[in-house]
Each structure stands twice: as C-alpha cells, then as structure tokens.
C-alpha cells in the first residue's frame, strides 16, 4: 500500500512538472482493495484492469521502472510508450491491460476465463472495474455470461461512490451493487474496501470458490478515492467534509495503527519500508528519465503483426 501511495504521489508531482502528460487517474485512498484482492492470486492468474491501474500493475509484478517509463512515453515502458498511464500491459505478468472504456474490460475477462476453462486450466481471472461500469449494458451482458457459463472470474467492483462527478445514488436505481450481481445467480457480497485485511479475506474466500469451478464471484469493495477523478478535476461535485471524513479511514494509516498496537510494526520497520519504497521510486524516475523515445519510423509498428506469433 505504501509503495502504491508513494509511487502515485510521485506521479502527481511529475504530472505537475509536465513530465507525464495525458490523463492520470490516481488510486490514492483505494490501495487496500487491490492489495487485498491481488494477495489471493497466483502468478498464473490473469488480471484485467481499468485506467486507474498503476497499483494493480505494480502488485502484479510489472516493474516500477517500466510503468514509470510508460508514463514518460518512453520505449522502455511496459507498452513501449504507446499506452501511457491508462494502458499498462504486461504479457509476462499476465496483466491484460488498463482499459479506458468504462466496462470495456469485462468482456475481455469473460473471454480470458473462457479460454482457461476450455483448456482445463485452474487459473482465475480477476477483473477490476468501478461502480460507473455497473450502469453500462456490457456489465449486465457479462454478469449473465459469467454466471451462465460458470466462468472462473473474480469480479472486483471498486465502488468509490463516484463515476467522475456522478454520485452512485444519482446514477443507480439500486445502490447496493452486490444485490445486482446476486440477481445473476452468483455469490456476491460487500467488503469494507478501506480495510486491507477484510479485502484480503474476502478475496481469499471468493478466489477459492472460483478456483474450485463454482463459477464467478462478485465482490463489491466499498472504498473512496481521496484525490480528484483525474488531474483535471476541480471536484465541484463533492463536499470537502465528506473527503475529510473518509480520510479518517485511510487504509494505510489505520492498518499501520493496528499493526503498531499489535506490536508487529514499529517506527524503525515503518522507516525501512518507506526507505525501500523511496529508493525504488527514485530509481524508476531515473530509469524513465534515461529512457529513449521510439523513433518516428516505428509509428505504425504493431498496428498489425509483423510475423506470426506462436
């Protein structure tokens, strides 16, 4: 969690310094969700994410170097500078991308899971999406298919109460999203998305069910983003007091307190974590700075495959 938080704080800084351009969506406040959910996955599993996916990519083992280089638009980036912040990809990490079409990753996850099922592999496909996606037709098509075909997908809804500036209650007739999912005939339950242990336990339980071939599970992680939707958002749609209230539930601070009280964590350990993270990020920035831009002659490369892969 600390690693994601500091990485993204650095991104925001670099954005202000114009080193990173385009859209930048920060996950700050929501870290417990990805950390908890990913903890239940193995390297063999698959992950499909949205445009708010720096944390997911980091947790999946995509190197901080290649993520940072991607945001710099360098060819050393995980998508060779063609994707940017919203489209991190890493085949080796089985990270099937940041998808910037709301709901657009869901059908992919269904298909990835179908391929595993048809080939009798035990993998789970975790698909992350926001509460905004729940209003899209694609969401409903995919919930139906996942349940109908008993596909091994872990549906991770990151309900941060807003889709850009639209509050959940202004967009949904039924704001209890796990009820919607349950209507498709799959186990679905809400999770305290600010509590990393709760997230981890829920994901563990759900993944176990999915892996054993019972079909999909839906987890509604109730969480909150502390920052704006993207770097362009003046946040006119929500009350500062509301943000402050949620910040009291900061997943990092609360977990730190808990561990300290339990005697598992102390200042020295915390400092070591911070130092390690700071050094990793510093290296990532240096790596990105030193990276190179792909020559213009390569512009159309990868529009189509040059050769047949096997």
């Amino acid at each position: 969690m600390v690693r994601i938080r500091r990485f993204e704080e650095k991104c925001a800084e670099l954005y202000s310094a114009s080193k990173i351009r385009g859209f930048l969506h920060l996950y700050i406040g929501e870290e417990a969700v990805a950390v908890g959910a990913m903890h239940a996955l193995t390297p063999e599993d698959n992950v499909v994410a949205t445009y708010r996916e720096h944390g997911h990519a980091l947790l999946r083992g995509v190197s901080a170097n290649s993520i940072m280089a991607e945001m710099y638009g360098k060819q050393e980036g995980c998508s060779r500078g063609r994707g940017g912040s919203m489209h991190l990809f890493d085949a080796a990490a089985r990270f099937y991308g940041g998808n910037a079409i709301v709901g657009g990753g869901l059908p992919l996850a269904i298909g990835i899971a179908l391929a595993d099922k048809l080939q009798h592999r035990q993998r789970v496909t975790a698909c992350f999406f926001g509460d905004g996606a729940v209003a899209e037709g694609e969401f409903h098509e995919c919930m139906n298919l996942a349940a109908l075909w008993k596909l091994p997908v872990l549906l991770c809804c990151e309900n941060n109460l807003y889709a850009m500036g639209t509050a959940l209650k202004r967009a949904q007739s039924q704001t209890d999203l796990s009820l919607k999912a349950a209507a498709y005939g799959m186990p679905a339950w809400p999770v305290d998305g600010m509590d990393v242990v709760a997230c981890q336990e829920a994901a563990q339980r759900a993944t176990l069910a999915v892996r054993s071939g019972e079909g999909p599970c839906f987890l509604e992680f109730r969480t909150y983003r502390f920052r704006a939707h993207s770097m362009y958002d003046p946040q006119l749609y929500r009350d500062k007091r509301e943000v402050e209230e949620w910040k009291k539930l900061d997943p990092i601070a609360t977990f730190e307190n808990r561990l300290t009280t339990q005697g598992v964590l102390d200042d020295a350990k915390m400092k070591r974590i911070e130092d390690e993270v700071a050094s990793e990020i510093e290296k990532a920035v240096a790596f990105a700075e030193a990276g190179t831009f792909e020559p213009i002659e390569e512009l159309t490369r990868f529009a189509y495959s040059a050769e047949k892969p096997e």
Binding site: Q75, F89, D90, I112, A303, S305
Partner: protein
C-alpha cells in the same frame, strides 16, 4: 463437386475445428438452431456445446469474450447474425480488437475471426440490409474480407484463422444459396490480394462480395456489344490491394467502382482517391461510382431494387462512358 456458398463456409468451419483444438465457434443460434443462415447446421452434434457455443443476445459481451479468448490462447470464430447487430459490439471491435496489439507495444495478439452477414436484396428492410463493411475498412488494426466466390468462402476462413490479427469476414446474405463447382481439395487462399475475375481492355469494373455476380453479368452483357470489361474482385477491403487496382486501370484507362455501401464517405470513395493518386494521367475519363441510393434500404421490392447497384445500371454507365470517348 457441386456445393453452395453456405456449405463451403460450413466445410471451412468444420475443417478448422478438426485441424485445431483451439478453434471454437460462438454466436447467437449457431448451435441448437443450426445457425440463423444454416451455416453451422450439424456442427453442434458433431463437436458439442463447448466448441459450438450458443450465446445469449449479448453482442458486445460475446465479441469481447472472443477477443479475450484469443488473447489467452484460443482461436475463436465469432459469428454475428448481421452487420447491423455488430454495431452493438462496435466498442469491442474498434476499441479493443483493433487497438490492443498496438497499445500493448506488440505484446498481445488477437487471432480472432468474426464472421457476419451483410448486404441487401432479400426485402428485409433497413435494419437487416445495410452494407457497413466499408466502415470497418476504415479501421487500422483489423482486416476486412469479403468472399464472393465458393473458393474464397471455403478458403478464406483458414487463412484468417492463421492470421495473428483480428479478421472480419463479411458474407453477403444473397450468396448463401449460390451453387457451383468447387474442387474437393480446395485449399486455403491468399487474403491480401485482389483477383481479376475477368480480363478486359476497355474498362475496369471494381467490386467485391455481393455485387461481384451482378458485375460479371454486366460484363458479359457488355461483351455482346463489343466492350471488354475487366472485373476486379477486391476480396479484401482492408488492407486494400492498390497494386492490382492500379494495374487494371493502367490497362483499361477507365474505372467504375460498384459498391453496395452508400456513396458518401465510402470504400468506393477511397478506391477512387487511390486511382486518382496513382493513375491520374492514365485515365481517359473520371472514375465513376455505382453505389446504393442514400436512403435506409427499403422493404418494397421495387424500391429495394432501385436502391441497390444493378447489372443494368452498370451496363448503362459503361455504355455512356464508352460512347463519350469510344
């Protein structure tokens, strides 16, 4: 061997299923119903419901699922009933299938084939009759095929499945019952080249898919009055085989493009522009286009016929062109 276009496609699908365990067919009514155009009839019994997979009416989800499955090691053939319904899956086709290879810096291939019907001529009215393959040909990252012959119906699918990139195959609805002779051992065909279906010296008739038959008919008719038309079957709308088009125009110095899509912003406009760019000084006359009338395709027979390119229109157009500069 005498078979129909429908049977040629069925054989191609069956072949693919036998040859490669990664291949499966998925779409609305492809299984129990036998395919809404009876293309996949009998395949469910032979291959079972895992490989002949009926889907709910969820175009976006099952097309997207095809993309995901292709990214994870399968070779899906996704069938969409008609191009009109593919619009519900446009997001997946345009924003995912066409972009992911490039956006991922070359990491994820999408070896997916999407088949759908296109075209008018069966009095099905506007929502079942449009020819939108030209739209799809606008999009980099996908390939667009339009088999007009039995050999292509039989052979293109295999080549498309071998292709690492997403391929869309448009089958014109009026072709399914077309019958003809085909070699029992018909082979996979090249999908990057146009074909000259009839050699000629006076005018190039450039077309594809459902209008190839009408164009061949017109060419025969013209021959009777001494005009030798060369007929170019594009076969692939993206990438366009500009070389074959230009070579033909260099021989004939006149060109007519016959396209069942609408004229404005169409594939015929693109071809016309390429001829202008590549063979302007070879032309005796401006390039002509015979396209569908700019209306939603109507139901009533006489209106539908009037809306579509017809052999008679092709003959009249060429005759006028020849008369002008004969």
């Amino acid at each position: 061997m005498k078979i129909t276009y429908r049977e040629a496609i069925r054989q191609a699908i069956r072949d693919a299923l036998i040859r490669d365990q990664r291949v499966f067919l998925m779409g609305e009514d492809v299984g129990a119903y036998g395919g809404c155009f009876a293309v996949s009839k009998g395949l469910l019994e032979e291959f079972g419901p895992d490989r002949i997979r009926d889907t709910p009416l969820s175009e976006s989800a099952f097309v997207g699922a095809g993309i995901g499955a292709a990214m994870n090691g399968m070779r899906p053939i996704v069938e969409i009933m008609t191009v009109n319904f593919s619009l519900l899956a446009l997001d997946q086709i345009v924003n995912n299938a066409a972009t992911i290879l490039h956006m991922s810096g070359g990491q994820f291939n999408i070896p997916l084939v999407i088949r759908m019907t296109t075209g008018a001529g069966r009095q099905l009215a506007a929502q079942h009759s449009h020819s939108l393959e030209g739209w799809y040909a606008h999009i980099p990252g996908i390939k667009v095929l339009a088999p007009a012959t039995l050999e292509d119906a039989r052979g293109m699918l295999w080549t498309a499945l071998e292709d690492p990139d997403p391929v869309l195959i448009f089958e014109h609805g009026t072709l399914y019952n077309m019958q003809g002779e085909i070699a029992a051992d018909a082979v996979p065909v090249e999908i990057s080249k146009a074909a000259v279906r009839r050699a000629g010296t006076d005018v190039s008739l450039i077309t594809y898919g459902g209008t190839l038959g009408k164009t061949m008919l017109a060419a025969e008719h013209l021959a009777a009055s001494g005009v030798e038309a060369e007929v170019v079957d594009l076969r692939t709308l993206r990438p366009l085989d500009t070389t074959t088009i230009l070579d033909s125009v260099m021989r004939t110095h006149r060109a007519v493009i016959i396209d069942e899509g609408w004229r404005s912003g169409s594939i015929s406009a693109e071809i016309s522009a390429r001829i202008m760019e590549g063979a302007f000084y070879e032309l005796d006359l401006p390039v002509e286009r015979i396209c569908s009338a700019e209306v939603p395709i109507p139901y009533a027979k006489q209106l539908e016929d009037a809306a579509l390119p017809q052999a008679a229109t092709i003959v009249a157009t060429v005759t006028r062109m020849m008369g002008g500069h004969g």
